[in-house]
Structures are given as structure tokens and as C-alpha cells.
Symmetry: C3
Subunit: 259 residues, 3 copies
């Protein structure tokens, strides 16, 4: 089942560097239906990586914005009626246009109705679902490589499970990334930004597991670089943006811990 695993993991730093360079050249537009807490940090992460964010929600405009975007993020934080309606319109557009999209089922472990909505969105085949261990459990998974692989294979999507060890799988191939920094868990919206960056990578890389694994590797290594200089989570948050803006192939190659 994992015959191609070694090839992908060994090549990931180079793949990620290539994706990052293409992001900076192509400046893809990423439309984000995301929570109000995460919006500014998410926008700044996308800009630092070379992408162009937009975040409108209203039903009169969401179709136009998604039509002219290269990828879509659906993040379920601070979810409300306007976001639900926007999501359904946006998903119709991406289905018709064949655009990639990412689902981030934020805090579904805290809200059964939200978990139910997340499951209904899984049936619409997001390109990637990025989530943490508690959220994966709320979908019925177990936070280990075998369960992630099984879940991804059954749903025919890529699962990107974030944590001290990130596990990314499409059911056939899987990659694990152990880069990152403990302060990443102390900055609000870091996971939300990882999902947005995944959407940006998908806009220029059709192989969804490559896009998702690259996004997590890129943000994790930016986090490590920021962590080396930070005095705490405040300076760390702006340091991650700086490091992402300055990240190059050499740092990705030297720091990557991929298996």
C-alpha cells in the first residue's frame, strides 16, 4: 500500500520549494470562508506566501469571488447562517469549475451540530481536510497513520492531520512531518492559516497530497525559524509571517524532518 511513500517523503523538501516558488510567481487568489478570529492572521500568512486572499461571505457576492479565485477554503470556526449559505453557494461554483478546496472542521469536537455539518461536507469531496487530533476523533478517526490512511482511502480525499507529528495521506501514499515549534499551539489561527496555505498550494499543484504536505512543511519550518528568535507567542506570531516571507529551498532542505 505504501510503495511510493519513500519517494514522496524524500522528495518533499524539493516539492515544497518548487510550490513556494510557483506561489510567489503566480500569486493565486484564495477565497476564504473563515472565522472572524482567524481572518487577519490568515490573510497575512497567504500574502507572505505569495497568494492573494479574499474573505467576503454575502450571498450576493460569494459566487463572483469564488469564480475569480483559484482555490477555496471552508473553515467552520465561528460558523453561522451567513457562512453556511456562503459555503453552499461557493461549493456549487467549485464543483462546476473543478476548483480545489480545503475543509477545516474547526472545533467540531465542541459542537455536535457542527460535526454533523462537517460530515455532510465530506460527502462533497474536499480536495483536502486539514484538522487536529480532537477534530479527527469527532469524525470517527483515531490520530495515527493507519487510521488516517484508512479514512482518506474510504472518503477518497486527502487527510492532513496536524500535531507534533503531522500525518498526511490520500489512502495510497502517506507522509509524516515532525517539524514545527511548541509556540505554534499558542497563537490563535495557526491551524486555520495552515489550511488556507494548503488551499493556496492546491491552486498550483494538482496532486493534493503534495500540496497538503508542502503547506504543512512550509509552515512548520517557518515556525521553527520564528521559534529560534521569539521571546514568546506575540513576537513568534509576527516572526512566522517574516520567516514565511523569507523562506527558501535551502532552509526547507536543511530543516525538513519527513518520513
Amino acid at each position: 500500500m505504501h510503495s511510493s511513500q519513500g519517494v514522496l517523503s524524500g522528495a518533499l523538501p524539493r516539492i515544497a520549494a518548487d510550490i513556494l516558488e510557483r506561489l510567489r510567481t503566480a500569486s493565486p487568489a484564495v477565497h476564504c470562508i473563515t472565522n472572524t478570529v482567524a481572518q487577519a492572521f490568515t490573510a497575512n500568512v497567504l500574502l507572505a506566501a505569495g497568494a492573494v486572499p479574499s474573505m467576503t461571505l454575502t450571498h450576493a457576492e460569494i459566487g463572483n469571488f469564488v469564480e475569480s479565485a483559484d482555490a477555496l477554503l471552508i473553515n467552520l470556526g465561528t460558523f453561522d447562517g451567513e457562512r453556511r449559505e456562503a459555503t453552499l453557494i461557493a461549493l456549487d461554483v467549485v464543483r462546476h469549475r473543478g476548483k480545489p478546496w480545503v475543509l477545516d472542521p474547526v472545533l467540531i469536537d465542541r459542537s455536535p451540530p457542527r460535526a454533523g455539518f462537517a460530515k455532510s461536507l465530506l460527502a462533497r469531496r474536499p480536495s483536502v481536510v486539514r484538522l487536529n487530533a480532537a477534530e479527527f476523533k469527532a469524525l470517527g478517526g483515531t490520530p495515527d497513520a493507519a487510521s488516517v490512511s484508512h479514512f482518506a482511502g474510504e472518503a477518497a480525499i486527502v487527510i492532513a492531520l496536524s500535531g507534533a507529528k503531522d500525518i498526511i495521506s490520500d489512502g495510497q501514499r502517506h507522509v509524516a512531518v515532525t517539524n514545527g515549534h511548541p509556540l505554534m499551539a499558542k497563537v490563535t489561527a495557526m491551524g486555520c492559516a495552515a489550511s488556507a496555505l494548503t488551499a493556496a498550494c492546491l491552486s498550483i499543484e494538482p496532486d493534493a497530497i503534495r500540496a497538503a504536505a508542502s503547506a504543512l512543511l512550509i509552515l512548520d519550518i517557518a515556525g521553527e525559524i520564528a521559534g529560534d528568535a521569539a521571546n514568546g507567542p506575540g513576537s513568534f506570531a509576527s516572526g512566522v509571517i517574516d520567516a514565511l516571507h523569507n523562506l527558501d529551498a535551502v532552509a526547507l532542505e536543511q530543516r525538513a524532518k519527513v518520513s
Copy 2:
């Protein structure tokens, strides 16, 4: 009336250090109904202090989030119909479950309807009301120790009045804190974050005046430490988050100006 005043004020640095340590160990969940301007900074202050924020508003989910939270913040900034509905549902949950909650009547001096709503919430007995001088005047108070004490006693709640001199009273006991830094008034949501931190402290400290006074002392001293190194309000804002993350009993003891 103030027989226990000296005991509380002298012990406050140690009480605050103990609360901060318990926050970091217990990682309480604090649900925040707060304004969109303040959400990200508030979340980062809670994370830096050891708490776990959530900020959903929608009526279908607010009950679930408050059920699984340890304390609640009601902040009246950018108040709208959704926030009003969320507030009423959330307050029913905290009443049934006996959870602590904080009211922050943001800018009620600018809006008579909002002041009226704040007064109706006072009747529901928040554990603590944290506000500034203009907001206290809009509730009929005068920003001095006697008026704060009288108001707190009449309403049977703790009043935490922020300013160059913070005054905290439950009607029987009162404490004044003169720590802080002028740049605290130049960063949006600093007061909102103080209220959220008060809610976090209440989740692990049932004596509301101890919780409120500790929250203000902790944030004020983090502000002083950040102010020593800041170049202006931008670096100050991230410096406060850093200082809060790194704050310890020694700094609290050495810097506290409590009477």
C-alpha cells in the same frame, strides 16, 4: 467596611501568581461573546495565560460551547442581534450550571440602547463587571473608590474599574492597582482582553474579587514589562503577549503596586 482590605492587597501578588500557575496547569476553556475588533488579540491573551478560547456566536451552537466552557465573557462591543441572542442563551446555561461570567459594557457611554441592555444584564448578576471610567459613569457611577464600593455592594457583584489606578471592589473589600503602562491605552482591545483574562481567572478562583484583581495585576505588569522594551504601540502589543507568557511570581512580587 474595609477591615480585610489590607490583607487582600498585601497578599495579591502571591494570589495572582498562584492563579497564573493554576491557569497554566488547568488550561480552562473560556467562551467569549466579544466584538470582532477584539477577537484575535483576546484569543492570543487567553492562550498566553494558559487558557483556551472559543468565540462562536450562532444560536445553534452557543449552548454547546458554553456547556463545555469553564467561564464566559460577555463583551458588548460591535453588539448586534446575533450577539444579543447568543448572550441570552449563554446566560441561561451559566445560570443553570453555576458557571462564572464577566460583563464588559464596552462604549455604553456612546450608545443609550447599549447602556440599557448592560443594565438589564447587571440584574442577572455577572460575577464581575470590568469597565473604564466613562462606561462606569454611564451606569450611574463615579470613578472613585467609594462609588465603586457602593455600586458593587448594591448590585452584589464585583466591579473592576480600569484606569491609571484600577479599583476593584465587592462592596466589602477593595483593592487598588497602580501598575500598567500608558501604551495600554493605545492598543485596541486591551481592556477587552483584561475582561477575558478575568473570566479565565474566575474559572479557577471562586472568590471573584481575587480573580478580578489578579487578572488586572497580571495584565498591568505584563504591560509594564512590555513597555520597557517597546518602540511604540505595535511592538508593545506583541510584547504584552510575550510578557504574559513569560510572567512569573518573582516579577509579580517585585513590581506589584497594590493598596
Copy 3:
């Protein structure tokens, strides 16, 4: 047509320094109907310049807030039904009270319905429209001095077109500012904040072209100062706030590139 051009451009650093000093003394209240992505950064820019922001939207309160404000910003980012309703109420107040207001038609190039709404607002005579080249094209303009001047004259408003070269015109006079830093385009809400700062300047300077040109010059020079020390867009964003807080007449005079 441009007989007074030289006088205004030569005097602009001094005019901007005078406006900045008056902002810090008067602390005008600026009400912002702005998008959720931009709110916190916008509030911090206004505070750093000496103004006092408020951002409430709900129809029950917007009238009270605008009545007690000195200027109004209408920013069309993340525009929705609540913002549309708030805008119409707010504009009735500013018309009756003769208060200045700024229109920022964010991303109208991405959404025909929003472009249509922006055009309907032009007919209500904003004091200043601040926008970028793509947004100006969506209004039918061409991003050069002649077109900006023509458009401003026809609409009887001030147009402030931001870019590597800012062009500000009221149809009779025009000024160009070439200060700024490339990282300004990599921080979300930098343009939104420029519009808010324009509203702040208008609250104390009735000559709208002086107010708009001063706001852009002030923010551009703060950007240059921040750019000298920044490691990337994260540290740059807080550096702009610091530089704005510390900006003085000497830096404005020494750095200004105005024609």
C-alpha cells in the same frame, strides 16, 4: 488647471505635520464601517495617529455612534446586509450634520454588485474616495494623473489613488506622493487603514485634498521607516504602528517625495 499644484506639493510635509499634531491634541472620534479582516489593524493605526476608533454596525446603534463621531469611513470589504443598512443610516447622519466621510471601494473589481453599490455611494458625495488602480478601473477610470483629475472634477470629490505613486486630486489641484515601501502591499488592511487615517485627517482639516494627501504621506513615511528595520511583513506591520506613533515633522520634511 494645476496652477496651485506647486504650492500644495511643496507645503505638504508641513501641512501633514500640522495635521498630525492636531490629531494628537484633538483625539477625534472616527467611526468605521469596515470589513472584519481590517478592523483590528485599522483601529490600531487610528490609535497610533491619535484618533479614537469605533466600529459598531447594528442599526439600533449606528446612528448614535456616528452622531458622536467626527468623521466616518465606509469600507466595502466583506460587505453584507448589515453593513449596507448601517451605511445608509450613517450617511443620513453625516449629511444632516455635515460631517466628512471617506469611501473605500475595496475589491469592487472582483464583484459587479459591489461596484454598482460603490457607484451609488459616489452620488452621495464622499469627501474622499481612496482606492487602488484595479478599483479605480472598475469605476471607469484610468490610473494616471489626468484621469484621476478628470474623475475628481466630474464627481466633485477628492480621489486618492494609492500605489507606488499615490495620486490625489480634487479636479483643480493635484499632488503625487512617491513615498512608501513594497512591504505595504504584503500586509492585509494597509489600504483600509490609509482610508481610515484619511477620515481622521478630514475630521480636523476641512480642505479634503490636504487631508487625503497628508494621510497618504504620513502612512507612506511610517512605512518607509518601518521598512528600514523590518525582517518581513510580520515585523513590518507592527513597525508601521510604532513609526506612526513616533512620527514627527522632521521625518516628514526629510523623507517627503511629493510633486
